[in-house]
Symmetry: C2
Subunit: 133 residues, 2 copies
DNA sequence: CCGACTGTCACGCAGCGTGAATGTAG
DNA sequence: TCTACATTCACGCTGCGTGACAGTCG
């Protein structure tokens, strides 16, 4: 645990479950920039930064691009800060609908995956097993 | 429906739900080669070919590489044809285990996805709605 | 001063999407 | 002959993995 509640990348990677490369990549594309750096150039992440990374990780299965996620994080931030033309809410609602669709597609994929897993298991155990004993 | 129970790519794409590009790509990498061609060079897929494509599509959520899938399809074919050193079964069993693991990971992802979707929906409907009327 | 950690390039890779220009089927 | 469908390049893109080489922290 670094000074002033700031954490360096390795620590964050362990905590959140993302690779160093991924976290660095998220900075490159402006998705989750560290809120600080040490004199020598080490990235320093605040607790909110870490939360942000966690949210991104959670959001990943929805299949949004990193750019879209950045957009969403922005909207979420502005959604509380008032100054909503309502536009913010509208766009969030669109993303929410999209997310719901992706969820059902994910469910379908899970069903396919399970079917396939079952098939593989069955084929791997078929007609040979009579353990011969 | 083409002659002799053979189907051309567009038909197959519609039936299976894969893009032309994807189907062609699967041939490029040797995953699902069409079992024939017309004089002029049009790909012709037999019904078993189509089943193969369907299986691949079903298997996709498991996250195997195209190469691994080709391997698996080969094993499945040899699993019935006898001549099993038992090796075929063993490898299938390994893939089955892998598949089962991937399934639980998929379930986790689905859970994350749903959580996120719920969050987005809530944020998009929070505290503003008093439709002002 | 050493070892663990981190930094920046920069290339590689899978799995297609997306034209462009051309040929085939019927 | 016309038109819908198909063919082969071949480059583009996302999201990192994977070194290589060098500097920083404690």
């Amino acid at each position: 645990v670094g000074r002033r509640g700031m954490h360096q990348i390795g620590e964050v990677a362990d905590a959140v479950g993302l690779s160093l490369r991924t976290i660095r990549h998220y900075e490159e594309v402006g998705l989750v920039p560290p809120s600080g750096r040490t004199e020598g150039g080490f990235r320093l992440y605040s607790d909110p930064d870490v939360d942000r990374l966690r949210l991104v990780k959670q959001m990943k299965p929805l299949g949004f691009t990193l750019e879209e996620m950045a957009d969403i994080l922005g909207l979420l931030a502005r959604a509380g800060d008032d100054a909503d033309t309502g536009d913010t809410r509208d766009r969030l609602a669109m993303y929410a609908s999209l997310a719901e669709e992706r969820c059902t597609r994910l469910r379908d994929k899970l069903a396919d995956a399970q079917q396939t897993a079952t098939l593989l298991r069955r084929e791997s155990e078929a007609s040979v097993p009579p353990v011969r004993r």
